[in-house]
Symmetry: C2
């Protein structure tokens, strides 16, 4: 059994906290077992370590997230980087070929692919074991997880099933994102939600990939990644597979992708510098800025303030946030790595940008090349600078250092260090 | 007739826009006659210029606001600076002595003292003429404006009156900030609100000041300003005066001192970078930050985002804002002059502060002395620096300039100019 976690999920459904450069699986907003806040990736990888110890694990992700993933992982894992951000079919095809060609996993091995962010209880991970058993018993070519619906959602895929066969039930029909009336009818007919978990033998998966993409070699797929069919694994493979079955799962399962669902599972109601008058009802207020947020009254509001912007919303309105944000330019003022954070303090066309960098002791913070010269000023700490890999100089607090245009630098912090980096527009 | 406008009103009742360094009379939030937004001071001084042309005017204010007042004035005026911020009795005593000793105004002249921020219609200013006529006719020693109450407010002073005498009505009793039941009884008894407008002969006022403060000389009062009775003119003088009458006024009059009253008179519902989903009801959203503010839904909310903080409040809760803010440190990240703005982008103890300065062409922006060395970097524009009054150097964009500790500098902008000023903590 080999687990592949698909770590996509960049996007602005949890704006202003999530965005292009900051994926929701890294937001530490959930109550962990020890009382501390944990991220979705910390939670899921911790559950895997507890319920499926020793099962090899691979995280398939976009470039640039490797270091952050490593910082959040609570189980040993390989990290496979996609050459570009595409849909789930290319990511799964690449992962399968990588298992075969690079990890030498045999064709007979069961592979289970799941999203990186299911908010579920431990039984969810026990169900993966049952899916493996069904694959080994050859009850079907492809095993899905069938989640017992809790309401007639219009945003999930549904599966209608036939008579049980062994521990699994054959899937007879798929219905993707039905309208409300159809969703109600599906619930009455006993349909299950498709949880986006796929289990099969690696050999079957490679055959399927070879049929769709003319190859199942890792190097070939890597080279032509940008030309692979950009569609979901559901549409390309699952809906056309001949022998598909599912294992039902009726425990906790939630998609915490929007503020209204996420806040239901948040351990704390306020986070950061927040002051309320005590008359608020069911408020969630998160403030990542270093100015105070004051809330007086209000019912069922979520207020989130972050370097990228400020959201004030009735929770029930937040599923529409992503499309509302189409009216805003997609800029990001926050980046983070495992041991550094960069936030933009000022950004105005014609003037330039001012960034604040915060690096932990021993941390290594990239200063990617820019087409303008910059000024770097260390406020506090100890750090040295390398220029395109070559040691350059030690920084002294209060002494501005010019950085050349078109040159990448790296900051190495000997002690916790804070810097200002100023980039002008002309 | 001589008008004295008392410009106090710093404080946090309109936080985060108003604060210690930014008084509400300078906030440009009201719809002006030309469709542009105007400040309270612009509105009131414009009304005075229109309804009382040629009447000499003095603004009595705290130190540091002179330049801003001048930028907002729409009528010629003298500006008298209080040595320190005290209550209305010291401010009026100083103003009276200044009129006599510095402006050589005769004792027989009628002086009318009013707040800088009455939100009223033009008839309010016509009523000042009637007050002057009553003073000249010696109907009373002291004439007040008696405003017809519109609801049983607990936050105003009330006046009960006797039978009319000429155009005025004698005041028989004062009741300051009554409880709700008493306020209702006062309304039934025909009481009027005390609008804080006082008219009298200058000679009578000086006699009164001499009796209370042992002198009515301007220089004496200036020198002992910090020891003058720190109380309101109402309590020190009005409530003990023998012959007090009022002129009724029943036109528009509002105290726009809190968000719920101010937003009722605001011309626009959103200001700055604000995006809403269209489902909001009676929202007022003001954003002075350069990151977007997104609002989805909500009823009767005011949302204000400024360098000092973020407020999200049900409008009806905002009268309690000032006392809620007692829980927050009283720091300010924004300062402005007539031709410059300074905002703090970053402020963290142990690291220091980063400020952004914006100066108009021809503007002169003070950089007050600091106990730490600073780095000044011009992003764009043309400017030169003087050091304690001595021309120092021209600034070049992108070239950092060290500023000494314990030294005051001034920035002179030849063209619109933007700078970053960085002050470290060690």
């Amino acid at each position: 059994m080999y687990l592949i976690l698909l770590s996509g999920g960049s996007g602005r459904r949890l704006w202003p906290l999530s965005g292009d450069r900051r994926s929701k699986q890294f937001l530490r907003l959930l109550a962990g077992p020890d009382g501390n806040l944990q991220s979705m990736l910390e939670r899921v990888s911790g559950q895997i370590a507890a319920r499926l110890p020793g099962v090899p694990l691979c995280i398939t992700t976009a470039a640039g997230q490797e270091d952050l993933i490593r910082a959040h992982l609570r189980a040993p894992a390989d990290i496979l980087t996609e050459p570009s951000r595409r849909n789930t079919y290319p990511a799964i095809a690449l992962s399968a070929a990588w298992l075969k060609d690079e990890k030498k996993v045999p064709d007979s091995e069961t592979v289970i692919i799941l999203p990186v962010d299911p908010y579920a209880d431990d039984r969810y991970f026990d169900t993966l074991r049952q899916m493996e058993a069904s694959v080994c018993a050859r009850e079907a070519d492809l095993l899905l997880m069938g989640i017992t619906p809790t309401y007639p959602s219009e945003k999930y895929g549904y599966m209608l099933t036939g008579a049980p066969c062994g521990s699994s039930v054959p899937v007879t029909r798929f219905a993707e994102k039905p309208a409300l009336e159809e969703a109600r009818a599906l619930l009455r007919a006993g349909a299950l939600w498709n949880g986006g978990v796929f289990a099969c033998r690696l050999g079957w998966l490679l055959d399927t990939v070879a049929r769709h993409s003319a190859t199942c070699r890792y190097r070939d797929l890597l080279n032509r990644y940008d030309r692979l069919e950009e569609d979901s694994f559901d549409r390309v493979v699952v809906e056309h597979a001949e022998r598909v079955a599912c294992i039902p799962y009726s425990g906790l399962w939630k998609d915490l992708g929007t503020w209204n669902t996420l806040t239901e599972e948040m351990g704390t109601h306020t986070y950061g510098n927040v002051l309320t008058d005590g008359t608020e009802q069911r408020l969630h207020a998160l403030n990542e800025l270093d100015i105070p947020l004051v809330v007086m009254g209000g019912q069922d509001l979520v207020v989130a303030a972050a370097p990228d912007g400020i959201l004030v919303a009735e929770k029930e309105k937040t599923p529409a946030l992503k499309s509302l944000l189409d009216h805003l330019p997609n800029t990001s003022r926050y980046r983070e790595g495992p041991d550094w954070q960069q936030r933009t303090l000022w950004d105005r066309t014609g003037e330039g940008r001012v960034h604040h960098l915060s690096v932990s002791a021993g941390g290594v913070c990239p200063l990617p090349s820019s087409d303008r010269p910059r000024i770097l000023l260390m406020l506090t700490g100890e750090a040295s600078l390398t220029r395109q890999g070559t040691p350059q100089q030690c920084l002294a607090p209060g002494v501005p250092v010019p950085l050349n245009a078109h040159t990448a630098y790296t900051l190495h912090a000997g002690a916790p260090c804070a810097c200002i980096c100023i980039e002008q527009d002309h």
